[in-house]
Every structure is written in structure tokens, then in C-alpha cells.
């Protein structure tokens, strides 16, 4: 598969983790190059969240090593925390505080100068300026997720972990998140995201790693993964619009799905 280089943003070697008798990770190897988007694909219970929690210093691995931005997660957790940001499965926003106060809080905890200006900038970037003075409890699911991601981006950490960033979002909010993630990678941020949606991995990721029963069974670009199956046969299939396309057309969504979905 991939060969490790000295510049890998994330380098995972033989990581294992068990909860009691349940062996969740059985020796995970993974490399993520700087500035790339890697999707960790797997069904529920495959161990995606466990791996992300280990990489973001929330959980200690039983064995193996994980190096993030050049720092070992077990030995130099504080250095790792300076380089990363985690957006977990559940929006980690303070519901009592306003959107702006949430951003100021994170900026101050990251010891940045001008937390107010950083917060205003983030609100504008995520189309939350108007909602900025309202308590986060009043936000819709999509707004909350945008605020959540905005909070993760305060201080421009070079590596971002997104754990199922679009689970529970409506189609429009999902596309908003996708655009944000693509924008991040264009700006040079390394993104490791977990997802159980195949189309999300297809849309976003430079490389896809399939986590199954505690190990990465395959990883590569979409094209590489497709080569694992027999060559495509040419068949004629009527091109029906997907329900998502219909929904977005009816509600006047800003964009159709990025890139069409012709049969391949």
C-alpha cells in the first residue's frame, strides 16, 4: 500500500485497542499525507471513532504507535493537541452561549490574540453573522454543525479530524459541510474524516481507507479501489434523477450534487 514518508501528517503503525474482551482495533496501519483528505470508511462498530479518539489524544491505544504532525500521541499529547482539532459525532457547542461567545471561548482557550476579531471572521466565513448573537440552543442542526466546525478551525490547526461530520444533517447542510471540507484541503489543511456514507467518501476524499473488523483492509484512491473489481462492462441504464437531486431542485438548493452520477 502506501509507503511512509518523513513528512506524513498522520502515521499509524499497528495500533490495537480492546474494551474488555472486545478487540476493536487489531493492528491498524494508516498514512495521511499533508494537505490531503483521507476518508476512513467503515460500518457502525468498525472502530472508526475509536481510532479518531486515539489520534486526538482522548483515548490511549493498547499497542502500536501513532504519530500526528511529528508528535507521538502517547508521549507528546500536548504537542499533538496544538496541531489538531476534533469535530466529534455530536456537535460540541455550548448551547447556553451565543455562537460568537462559543468562538471567542475557543480562541481564548487557544491563547490567540484578538479573540473577538477571530470570532467575527469565523461567523462571516460560515454564514452565521446574523445568528452570532443568538444562543446556540436556538440553532438548527446544520447551523450547529457549521458552528461546531468553525470552532474546530479557530487557530488554523494543520490537522482536522471529522468524525461522521454529516450524520443527521439534511441534504443541503450536508453539501455545505462538503464544500467547507474541500475548501480546507485547498488551504493546505490535512483532513481525516470518518464516514459510513460511500458517496461522501467518493465526493471528498483523495484517498479512502476501508476499516473492517479492526484493520484497514484496503486503502488507495477511488480509482485504485475500483481496479480491485473486474473491468467495467458497458451497459445502458436509464439515467434517473436521484431523490437527492429532486429534493434539492424542488427546495431550490444552491447547487446540484457536485459531479454527476452517471453510471460507470
Amino acid at each position: 500500500m502506501t509507503t511512509a514518508t518523513a513528512t506524513a501528517a498522520i502515521e499509524v503503525r499497528g495500533v490495537t485497542k480492546a474494551f474488555g474482551d472486545l478487540q476493536v482495533l487489531r493492528g491498524v496501519d494508516l498514512d495521511v499525507q499533508p494537505g490531503s483528505i483521507v476518508a476512513l470508511l467503515g460500518s457502525n462498530g468498525a472502530g472508526k471513532t475509536t481510532l479518531v479518539r486515539i489520534l486526538s489524544t482522548l483515548l490511549r491505544a493498547d499497542g502500536g504507535t501513532a504519530v500526528v504532525d511529528g508528535f507521538d500521541v502517547a508521549k507528546a499529547a500536548n504537542h499533538v493537541r496544538r496541531s489538531i482539532s476534533l469535530t466529534g459525532q455530536f456537535a460540541a457547542v455550548d448551547e447556553v452561549l451565543t455562537g460568537r461567545e462559543n468562538l471567542v471561548l475557543v480562541a481564548r482557550l487557544r491563547h490567540l490574540k484578538n479573540p473577538g476579531a477571530i470570532a467575527d471572521d469565523m461567523l462571516a466565513r460560515f454564514s452565521l453573522t446574523e445568528a452570532g448573537s443568538r444562543p446556540a440552543a436556538t440553532y438548527s442542526g446544520g447551523m450547529r454543525r457549521r458552528l461546531d466546525i468553525a470552532m474546530s478551525l479557530v487557530g488554523d490547526p494543520p490537522i482536522i479530524f471529522l468524525d461522521e461530520p454529516t450524520t443527521g444533517l439534511d441534504p443541503q447542510a450536508r453539501i455545505d459541510v462538503w464544500q467547507t471540507v474541500k475548501g480546507l484541503a485547498e488551504g493546505g489543511t490535512t483532513v481525516l474524516l470518518t464516514t459510513q456514507y460511500l458517496d461522501e467518501a467518493e465526493q471528498l476524499a483523495d484517498r479512502i481507507a476501508i476499516l473492517h473488523e479492526g484493520t484497514i483492509i484496503r486503502s488507495g484512491t477511488l480509482a485504485e479501489l475500483k481496479k480491485l473489481l473486474p473491468a467495467a462492462k458497458v451497459t445502458y441504464v436509464e439515467k434517473q434523477p436521484t431523490l437527492e437531486e429532486v429534493f434539492l431542485a424542488l427546495v431550490g438548493g444552491t447547487t446540484s450534487t457536485p459531479e454527476g452520477k452517471e453510471p460507470r
Partner: protein, 254 residues
């Protein structure tokens, strides 16, 4: 990292103080029950209670009421800590380069502030109901010091409950026995009137020595050995609860 501990604690304390200021009902509900008890005991039961002293009954029972106020107030600390852990915000803090201990200390300091506000409200109502004291500034400071120590001790117990609870109800239920403890003490009636085993328990549990100390300070009388027993209880509970909470927190972090 550790040089940021104070800044981080200040920032996070500011955050949880905003929670209190925006839902002052937690402070009000904390004060309502002790005030209701105070009305009940002074205007309904108090006339029939012989405390054996010539103090007014409200002067006699206020110290116990203040401890009940704190015991019910710390339930909200466990509740707020539990909610933080349930939501993702706790994980966000843990994955950030902030001092580990500041997350807990912020809750502890917030608990201290909110409980002192509740205590001040209850004392205000007691003054309206006829509570009088000749206590000097020094005695008031000593009362404040003991109440702060008692709040810190119970708050760290609340931290244990908040960190280890499985449900919201579990997070606050631990405070019920603490609220009940003053009733089996010298807070409302002299322990000498109780049957043997109950009196023995009442005389050897922390609330009695704390109540006696505060009562003596308010009356400008010597507190005797009670003050040392009270301080020993508070410091002892504080130390044990702090160590237990810190070890539970570490096991959650790794």
C-alpha cells in the same frame, strides 16, 4: 502548558458563570427550599421547640439552614458537570491544548460563587425574619471561611458524582442524604433530646460541629473544640473527595 492553567481556569470559569447568570433559576431554586424550611421551623414548629438557650429560634437554626442551602446547591454542580460530559464540549476541551485541571476547577469555582450567592439570599431573608447577630467582622469572616471550606468539600463530592453518574438523576441524587444530614444534628433541636443511638450519631457527624461553631461565632461566644472538629471534618472530606475526583478524572482522560 501549566503556565496557562490560571488563564484557562479563568476563561472556563467565565463560561460556566455565564450559564448561571443566564439561568438564575438554579440559584433561586437552591435558596427557595431552605427559605421554606426556615419559615416552617420559625413560624410553625419553632414555638414548640425548646432549645434550652435564650437565643431566638431563628438565630438557633440559621447555621443549619445555611448548610442545607449549600448541600442542595452543589447538586447543580454535579448536574452541570454531567451535562458537559454528555455533550461533546468536554471532549472538545480535552482534545485542546488547555490545562487538564482547569476544566474541573472552573466548575468548582463556579459552584463556590453560586452557593455564596444563594447563602447571601438566605441570610438576607433571615434578617427580614428577625435574625440578629452581634458578630464582629472577624467572626463574620470566620463564618464565611467555614462556609467556603464546607462548600469546597461538598463540591468535590459533587464532582465525583458528576463524573461517575450514568444519568442526570443519578448526578443530583447523591445530594439528598447530604440535605437530610442537618436534620439529624444539632441544627434544629439539641442533640440531648434524641434517643441514645441517634444522639450518638448526631454528635459524631460533621454537621453538628459545624453548626455549633457557626452558632457560637454569630453569638460571639467561644466555639471551644467544635471549631477544630469542624475544620478537621471539612479539610478531611475536602482532601479525600479531591483525591478521589482527581483519580476518576484521570481515568476518564486516558
Amino acid at each position: 502548558m501549566t503556565t496557562h492553567a490560571l488563564t484557562d481556569t479563568r476563561v472556563l470559569t467565565g463560561r460556566s458563570l455565564k450559564h448561571i447568570l443566564r439561568s438564575p433559576d438554579t440559584i433561586i431554586t437552591t435558596a427557595v427550599t431552605p427559605i421554606a424550611l426556615m419559615l416552617l421551623f420559625v413560624y410553625v414548629l419553632g414555638g414548640a421547640i425548646d432549645t434550652g438557650s435564650n437565643e431566638s429560634y431563628i438565630n438557633y437554626m440559621l447555621p443549619g439552614i445555611l448548610l442545607i442551602t449549600i448541600a442542595s446547591g452543589i447538586a447543580y454542580t454535579a448536574y452541570r458537570l454531567f451535562l458537559d460530559m454528555q455533550g461533546g464540549i468536554f471532549e472538545r476541551f480535552k482534545s485542546m491544548p488547555i490545562a487538564r485541571s482547569s476544566v474541573l476547577w472552573a466548575h468548582v469555582l463556579t459552584s463556590l460563587v453560586s452557593n455564596m450567592i444563594s447563602v447571601a439570599i438566605v441570610i438576607g431573608v433571615a434578617l427580614l425574619m428577625g435574625f440578629r447577630t452581634s458578630a464582629s467582622i472577624g467572626a463574620w469572616l470566620a463564618v464565611a471561611g467555614i462556609l467556603i471550606l464546607f462548600t469546597l468539600a461538598l463540591t468535590w463530592l459533587a464532582v465525583i458524582a458528576g463524573l461517575s453518574a450514568k444519568t442526570v438523576d443519578g448526578a443530583s441524587a447523591f445530594s439528598y442524604p447530604l440535605i437530610f444530614l442537618p436534620f439529624i444534628s444539632s441544627a434544629f433541636v439539641p442533640t440531648a433530646t434524641m434517643p441514645g443511638p441517634v444522639a450518638w450519631f448526631a454528635e459524631h457527624q460533621p454537621v453538628t460541629s459545624i453548626v455549633n461553631t457557626i452558632r457560637a461565632l454569630f453569638a460571639q461566644e467561644p466555639a471551644g473544640t467544635d471549631i477544630w472538629i469542624a475544620l478537621a471534618w471539612c479539610v478531611g472530606i475536602l482532601a479525600v473527595a479531591y483525591l478521589a475526583a482527581a483519580s476518576i478524572y484521570r481515568s476518564k482522560v486516558s
